[in-house]
C-alpha cells in the first residue's frame, strides 16, 4: 500500500528544516474549511453523495502536484486499520475526527507531508498546510494558492454575507484556523503561562495542548489559534495571532534569561537529570517522556547540550506516542510493554546521536 511511506518516519520531511524562531515555535499551521456548493455536508449526506465527493477528489487531485507539494497521495480511511489511522493522527496529518468518525473519509497528502487535504471530514474539504517554525504569512500565502488551485475544479459553498459556508457555525466566514505550536518551558516552569492564557482568550484566541481540543499541554507544548472566523479578514486574523505569538516568544525568552541568571545551576541540573533519564531508563511513561524531552530541548536551546540535533523534540514527541510505537514495533503492545519499548527506542535514538558526534 502506498500510504506506507507516511507511517515509517516519525518526523515529517518538512519538519526537519529549522524555521524562524524554531527555539520556541515548533510549527505553523493554516487550515481552510470548504464545502461543495450543491452537496449536503458530510454530517447528513447520504452514501452516494459522499462517495461522489471522494470519487471526484481522487479523480481530480490524486497524484497531481502543485507548487512544491508533489504527487498528492490519495489515502482512503477505509483502507487503513485503526493503528495506521492513529499514526497519521499523531503526525498531525489527519484529524481525530477523520480517523474515527467520518464516513467515506480520505486525505490527499503531499510527498513532503506539508499539505494534507482531508475529504469528508466535518466539511467536504479541510485543507491544511504546515510550515516549520514561525511563518504565518508565508503559510497563509501558500494556503491561498492551494485554495485557488482547488477552486479551479470545485464550486465552493459561499455566500456574500456569511462567506465560506461550513457545517459548524464556529468555522463560517473565512473557514480559517491558523495555529502555532509553541514550546514554552520557562513560562510553564514559572507558572506565568497560567496567568497569560485568560488574557489570550480575551483576544479571541485559544490555547490548547498538542493534540487539539481538550488535550493537555504535554511537554510544555502549547497550540495557539484563532477562534473567530467571521467578520475578520484572513490577514487581520493572522496579524492578531502573530502579535500574540511574538509577545509570547518575547516573554518566554525573557523568562529563560531570568531563570538562567537566578538559578542557572538548578536549571542545568534539571536538564541533565532529564537527559540521564532518557539515556538510561528501562521503563518510561509518555508523560515522563514529554517532561524530560521538554527539559532536554530547553537544554539544547540554552546551549547546555550541544551534541544532539535540534529537532529531537519534534521527532521524539511523535515517535513515542502509543500508535507510532506500535507501528514501529510492528505489533500491538500492552501499556506496560509500550513503556519498555518506548524506553529502549529513546535510548537507541540518543546513542545514535552520540555516535554521530564521534
Amino acid at each position: 500500500m502506498s500510504s506506507e511511506q507516511f507511517m515509517n518516519e516519525a518526523i515529517s520531511p518538512w519538519l526537519k528544516e529549522n524555521g524562524p524562531d524554531s527555539d520556541i515555535v515548533m510549527s505553523t499551521r493554516i487550515r481552510l474549511a470548504r464545502n461543495f456548493e450543491q452537496s449536503p455536508f458530510p454530517l447528513i449526506a447520504d452514501e452516494e453523495t459522499l462517495e461522489g465527493v471522494l470519487y471526484f477528489m481522487e479523480k481530480e487531485f490524486s497524484h497531481r502536484s502543485y507548487l512544491q507539494y508533489k504527487d498528492l497521495e490519495f489515502v482512503r480511511m477505509s483502507e487503513l486499520n485503526s493503528l495506521e489511522k492513529q499514526v497519521l493522527v499523531e503526525k498531525h496529518l489527519i484529524s481525530p475526527h477523520l480517523a474515527d468518525k467520518s464516513r467515506y473519509g480520505a486525505a490527499l497528502i503531499s510527498q513532503n507531508e506539508q499539505v494534507s487535504i482531508m475529504v469528508n471530514e466535518e466539511d467536504h474539504i479541510r485543507a491544511q498546510l504546515y510550515f516549520p517554525g514561525f511563518q504565518l504569512e508565508e503559510a497563509l500565502d501558500q494556503a491561498f494558492q492551494i485554495d485557488d488551485w482547488l477552486e479551479e475544479k470545485i464550486n465552493y459553498a459561499f455566500n456574500e454575507d456569511r462567506g465560506y459556508l461550513t457545517c459548524c457555525p464556529t468555522n463560517v466566514g473565512t473557514g480559517l484556523r491558523a495555529s502555532v505550536m509553541m514550546h514554552l518551558p520557562a513560562l510553564a516552569l514559572t507558572r506565568k503561562i497560567n496567568r497569560m492564557i485568560p488574557a489570550i482568550n480575551q483576544l479571541g484566541l485559544v490555547v490548547r495542548g498538542i493534540y487539539g481540543e481538550g488535550s493537555e499541554a504535554l511537554g510544555n507544548i502549547f497550540q495557539i489559534s484563532n477562534q473567530v472566523t467571521l467578520g475578520r479578514a484572513e490577514e487581520d486574523i493572522i496579524e492578531d495571532l502573530k502579535g500574540v505569538v511574538e509577545k509570547l516568544i518575547e516573554h518566554e525568552r525573557y523568562a529563560r534569561r531570568l531563570i538562567m541568571e537566578q538559578s542557572g545551576i538548578e536549571l542545568e541540573d534539571r536538564v541533565f537529570r532529564s537527559y540521564g533519564i532518557l539515556q538510561h531508563s528501562r521503563i518510561i511513561e509518555s508523560k515522563e517522556t514529554a517532561k524530560c524531552l521538554s527539559d532536554v530541548q530547553l537544554g539544547i536551546d540554552l546551549g547546555f547540550i550541544t551534541n544532539i540535533s535540534k529537532s529531537i523534540l519534534n521527532e521524539l514527541v511523535v515517535l513515542t506516542q502509543p500508535a507510532f510505537l506500535q507501528q514501529y514495533a510492528k505489533k500491538t503492545l500492552t501499556p506496560n510493554e509500550r513503556d519498555i519499548f518506548r524506553a529502549s527506542l529513546i535510548r537507541e535514538r540518543f546513542s545514535l546521536e552520540e555516535k554521530e558526534e564521534d
Partner: protein, 178 residues
C-alpha cells in the same frame, strides 16, 4: 476503603440505595460508579455542541418571534429543520444558511465576537461578480478613508480602480445577457 466492585481503587463514591424498600450501602470508585451508571458519564456533557446548542435555546431567548414559524422552518435542500439545527448546533448544507438566515445573527454574534457579516476572501471562479463586488466594496471603503485623511492623490488612484472594476462588472453582465 476499597471499591466494592473492582476491589482495586479507593472507594470515593458513597451512597445508600433503596430497592423495594431494602437499603444497601454502596461504596465504589469513580470509575466503577460511571460504568455501573451510578453517576452520569461525563464524556460529552461539555462538548462544543452542547454549549453551542445552548446558545440558541428559544425558551431562554428574551423575545421569541412566534414559535410556530420557527418550528415550521425546514431546509428545502437537505431537509434539516430549525429544531434539529438548534439541537445539534450544525448545519446540514449550504442552503440551511439561507433558510435559517433570520435566526442566525444572535448565534454568530456570540461565537464570533459580535460579527455577523463576512470579511475577507471570496471565490474567484464561481463568484464571477461576487469577487469583483467584494473588491468594489473594499475599494469604496478605502476611498472614504483616503478622503477622510485628505490623501487626495491616493483617492484619485482608488477612484480610477473603482471605475475599472465597475466596467468589468458591467461587461460581465452584458456578456451574460447575450
Amino acid at each position: 476503603m476499597d471499591c466494592q466492585e473492582c476491589k482495586q481503587n479507593p472507594a470515593t463514591v458513597h451512597f445508600t440505595q433503596v430497592i423495594n424498600g431494602e437499603k444497601t450501602e454502596v461504596r465504589v470508585c469513580q470509575q466503577c460508579a460511571k460504568e455501573k451508571g451510578y453517576v452520569p458519564q461525563d464524556d460529552d456533557v461539555y462538548s462544543l455542541h452542547h454549549l453551542l446548542s445552548g446558545l440558541f435555546n428559544p425558551k431562554t431567548a428574551v423575545h421569541h418571534p412566534s414559535p410556530q414559524t420557527e418550528e415550521d422552518l425546514k431546509c428545502h435542500h437537505c431537509g434539516m429543520t430549525y429544531q434539529q439545527f438548534t439541537k445539534i448546533g450544525k448545519f446540514g448544507c449550504a442552503s440551511c444558511y439561507e433558510t435559517f438566515s433570520d435566526h442566525l445573527n444572535p448565534l454568530f454574534r456570540k461565537v464570533h465576537s459580535g460579527n455577523t457579516v463576512h470579511e475577507g476572501r471570496a471565490p474567484k471562479r464561481r463568484g464571477s461578480d461576487v469577487y469583483s463586488r467584494k473588491k468594489l466594496r473594499d475599494l469604496k471603503v478605502k476611498l472614504q478613508e483616503a478622503i477622510a485623511d485628505e490623501a487626495f492623490e491616493h483617492a484619485a488612484e482608488i477612484r480610477d480602480e473603482i471605475k475599472l472594476v465597475e466596467q468589468e462588472l458591467h461587461h460581465d453582465e452584458e456578456r451574460d445577457d447575450t
